[in-house]
């Protein structure tokens, strides 16, 4: 079968107005932000999909998936296009990108029961703006909030900046609707909790388009008291000192909405105007007045207890104004892309992992030491550091950030710079018992470690793939390693 045959088949299911075969759009659809530099420089090495389709109903999604399943056509589900790990990258000649653009209705905002139902193509910002009018919030605030859409947010197990209070998307999803490759539509009902067997929401949440297509999502809503927000900032001696304070706050049961520690290098990127060459610890307390007071007292107590590592407090207004400007709009994303086209460079990449409290400081030091001593292009690094930005009672994440001067061809950037560093980070994390991917998903470029990530539990993951996508048409290469795709990885 060739691309034309794929287009003919899809034309039997959808009207022409819902099928896009424009060359520029197909080029854009062949990769996501993982290979953004090669994409901007027009040197992508992957095939373009046959078409992008825009279903308007769950029935249309089911028809498309059934057709693809029958004919062995690869399906890449797509929502806001902010994927960073290759989840939208295409490795097959015959691929349909199924875009949620027209699944864009907010179906219900149920103020009394504190939940809202949206279709997969609704941007988080849109729902947030709507519920804000009612004094409510979704509690979800990834930096990509203005652009990311519910289908993608749920499929990647995304997490927002206020996660310490509201949790990740998995804590917010009440129920959902999804379509499997054989055309079966499953609706998971919206209840506060149940013990009806295993929690099947988690088959769809985090599936990265590799098991099913999410068409509809119901999420929790929370009362919102932004006027009470209180901010705290401190310069601290090192990452480990900051982590100790985070742990103390969490272990005492406080839930500040933001709790972060930045290494000095990373702090320099964000807080040049006040960091004075040191690591930065910051918090935001959110909620009713009473909760904010109690949380603030808890933060101050923890800071006092570990005052040895605290160098000085920071004007809280700095932290507040930093938060106001943190999110990326579509314009920011487009500007960055244009800069890569015009300026022939970009800043670098990230890898986000998680581990328990005792492990994270050790992991951080080991990774930095190994990158500095083993990475062959260490002299090109313009920045190497990281931050912890999502904490739990038993541990936290580490978001490694590394920028570099690119001295190779754009198509070689990832294998020359990102891959060797990512490998060190993943190896060290798995060695120490942590998770190699805290919130961006596995995508296509960490799939060689999926088995190591899950160990003996990989059995369960593999069985899910076999059961729900036996013909392997869902997002080929995502989560699950494929030898055929290895040539695009190295």
């Amino acid at each position: 079968m060739d691309k034309n045959a794929v287009i003919e088949l899809v034309a039997q299911v959808l009207p022409a107005s819902q099928i896009n075969t424009a060359a520029d759009d197909l080029y854009d659809a062949s990769a996501d932000r993982y290979k953004k530099y090669a994409k901007a420089r027009k040197v992508l090495d992957v095939p373009t999909p046959a078409a992008i389709v825009y279903p308007r109903t769950t029935t249309e999604v089911a028809q498309i998936l059934t057709m693809c399943n029958e004919h062995g056509i690869n399906v890449i589900p797509r929502a806001g296009k902010t994927a960073t790990e290759g989840g939208l990258e295409n490795w097959k000649e015959n691929t349909l990108v199924v875009d949620a653009r027209d699944l864009d209705r907010i179906l219900e905002i149920d103020e009394y029961n504190m939940q809202a139902t949206v279709e997969a193509g609704v941007t988080l910002q849109r729902l947030e703006d709507e519920v804000n009018k009612l004094g409510l919030t979704t509690g979800h605030s990834p930096q990509s909030k203005p652009v990311a859409k519910y289908g993608g947010l749920v499929a990647t197990r995304s997490i927002g900046q206020f996660s310490t209070l509201y949790g990740g998307i998995e804590d917010m999803v009440v129920g959902l609707e999804c379509v499997f490759p054989d055309g079966h539509v499953s609706r998971i009902k919206n209840v506060p909790r149940r013990a009806g067997g295993p929690d099947i929401r988690h088959i769809a949440i985090g599936n990265e388009g590799a098991l099913c297509y999410i068409t509809e999502v119901t999420v929790k809503l929370f009362r919102h008291f932004p006027e009470n927000n209180a901010f705290f900032g401190y310069l601290v001696a090192d990452v480990a000192s900051g982590i100790k304070v985070l742990r103390e706050v969490m272990a005492n049961g406080y839930r500040p909405s933001v709790a972060r520690v930045y290494s000095e290098e990373d702090a320099r990127q964000h807080f040049e105007h006040f960091y004075k060459g040191h690591c930065v610890l910051l918090f935001m307390a959110e909620g009713t007045k009473g909760i904010v007071q109690a949380t603030s007292a808890g933060i101050e107590e923890a800071v006092e207890k570990f005052s040895d590592g605290i160098l000085e407090p920071v004007d809280p207004r700095h932290i507040a104004s930093w938060f106001e400007h943190l999110n990326w709009s579509q314009q920011d994303i487009d500007d960055e892309f244009q800069e890569m086209v015009d300026g022939d460079s970009h800043s670098g990449f990230t890898t986000e992992v998680s581990a328990d409290w005792a492990t994270i400081p050790v992991l951080y030091d080991r990774v930095i030491e190994r990158v500095r001593s083993e990475f062959p292009r260490a002299h090109d690094l313009t920045m190497l550091g990281g931050h912890s930005s999502h904490s739990y009672v038993n541990g936290t994440n580490m978001y490694f950030v590394y920028n570099y001067a690119i001295n190779c061809a754009p198509e070689d950037e990832m294998r020359v710079y990102h891959h060797p560093i990512q490998r060190i980070i993943v190896e060290e994390t798995l060695k120490l018992g942590g998770s190699m991917c805290h919130h961006h998903g596995i995508g296509k470029f960490r799939n060689e470690w999926t088995k190591d990530e899950h160990g003996s539990a990989y059995y369960m993951l593999d069985k899910l793939k076999q059961a729900f996508d036996p013909r392997g048409v869902m997002n080929f290469g995502t989560i699950f390693y494929q030898e055929e795709g290895a040539r695009f990885q190295r």
């Binding site: 292009r377 313009t382 001295n407 190779c408």
Partner: protein, 266 residues
């Protein structure tokens, strides 16, 4: 055609930190980058070599040892030979002593052209190209924006020099020192994937003080005509930030403040 390039790996000034507790500039922690104007000169040399593959390029650099990976990369980009002049005894050399060392090495070579940048990021005096040319008894063209024409057989080059609001065209006899201006469009070519790990040990040389055969009194602080008596640092005071909104009034406020402080003329 034989081309020599002088290149200085400089500290990335954006990364320099002043340690107020110890009152020192933390040089060792800052990354080295190629001085942009020198990189323009090397990019020019590589362009000439692409047009005339028989051309040879030697890059000469007086720098600390940790500059080596940068020089190796230049070989991987197509330079034939890189020479690092490095020795603890070079420490403290001013532009005069530095020029003497570079000229001393270049005097042992045959070349048609010496290419370099006009200024460096870290000191910006523009003295080294002139002093090297003087020591080698060669003509110098500084502020070169473009090498318009070149004939090494007949021994001349035509260059455009940017002089504020006019471009001056000169014909200069070879060999000569041509000091370039930074040209963002003239970038070093990327290193090919296969070349990134190419062993270039045979094409890079490290020469210490003893190999140069100079007198110790010509080097370092002793050989420097500039003597630093005292360094004073400005103590920075934290000021209260002025917060404005991103609207018309905010813009006016920023404008007013900058004008009041003399950064803008009304």
């Amino acid at each position: 055609m034989r081309i020599a390039c002088m290149l200085k790996p400089v500290l990335d000034v954006g990364e320099l930190r002043y340690n107020r507790d110890r009152n020192v500039l933390e040089r060792d922690r800052a990354r080295l980058v190629l001085n942009p104007e020198d990189a323009t000169a090397v990019a020019m040399a590589l362009e000439l070599k692409r047009a005339d593959p028989a051309a040879t390029i030697e890059v000469v650099s007086m720098a600390p040892r940790r500059a080596m990976p940068h020089l190796e990369d230049l070989v991987r980009r197509g330079v034939d030979q890189a020479t690092l002049l490095t020795d603890r005894r070079h420490a403290g050399s001013d532009t005069w002593a530095t020029s003497r060392v570079l000229a001393h090495h270049l005097a042992t070579r045959d070349f048609d052209l010496v290419l370099c940048g006009t200024h460096t990021l870290d000191s910006g005096t523009g003295q080294v190209p002139a002093q090297v040319a003087e020591a080698l008894d060669l003509p110098l063209m500084a502020g070169v924006a473009e090498l318009v024409d070149l004939n090494t057989e007949e021994g001349w080059a035509v260059v455009d020099v940017d002089a504020e609001d006019v471009v001056l065209r000169f014909r200069v006899g070879l060999p000569a020192v041509l000091a370039f201006r930074y040209a963002p469009s003239r970038t070093l070519p990327p290193i090919g994937y296969g070349d990134l790990t190419r062993d270039v040990a045979g094409q890079v040389a490290v020469l210490g003080f003893d190999a140069l055969g100079m007198d110790e009194s010509e080097l370092g602080l002793r050989g420097s005509l500039t003597q630093v008596r005292r360094i004073e640092t400005d103590a920075l005071e934290a000021k209260d930030p002025i917060r404005v909104r991103a609207d018309r009034e905010g813009i006016d406020e920023v404008f007013r403040t900058l004008a009041e402080k003399g950064f803008l003329c009304r």
